[in-house]
Symmetry: C2
Subunit: 110 residues, 2 copies
């Protein structure tokens, strides 16, 4: 069955670009676990939640992905039983020029 024909497709809310706020983005990135997710995506975009090696329980990881999504930092789309994540680079760059790059450069290498 094609993905789009799926009867029940989880709809994840993403804030539109214009609604992104600086403080919310900074807050989302101020947690080590969440920052590591973003750093990981910056190097390898489109990864499923389960492929990240995080030092927290599954439910906690789910929470962190949600914080990133609601801040507008990542986009999540379900694909089968998985959840594919990607960085909202264009939106972040448009709204906060240079911010993401400086943060990625400032953080230690993976």
């Amino acid at each position: 069955m094609s993905l789009c024909d799926t009867a029940i497709m989880r709809v994840l809310q993403h804030p539109p670009r214009k609604n992104l706020t600086l403080t919310q983005v900074l807050y989302a990135l101020s947690d080590p676990v969440r920052l590591s997710i973003v750093k990981n995506l910056a190097e390898d975009d489109g990864k499923a939640c389960g492929t990240f090696c995080l030092p927290v329980a599954k439910s906690t990881a789910s929470h962190h992905f949600r914080v990133l999504r609601e801040a507008g930092v990542i986009e999540m789309r379900s694909e089968g039983t998985q959840c594919i994540n990607s960085l909202r680079r264009e939106d972040l760059d448009a709204r906060f020029p240079g911010l993401l790059d400086s943060i990625l450069r400032a953080s230690d290498p993976l």
Copy 2:
């Protein structure tokens, strides 16, 4: 009496440049009150705590200044009964190139 001769001079702890951490700085700047302090200092450095128009009580403001100081974002020095604040631009730029600028550019004008 000269400032340096003062018998009891409050000694404020400031983290050295090398100890600044990205997550701590991001966290410090993720609060609207603290971000407004930093934006204010970026335009008008060397202001005393009392000259900021903040929507919180004196003790709460004191807390926010401390968070900024302990994250290494601002430098505080006492001068008489006042506390003079300045942005640690050079340290921030050295440690996290472009970060402060992008944040100041991204935030709305005062």
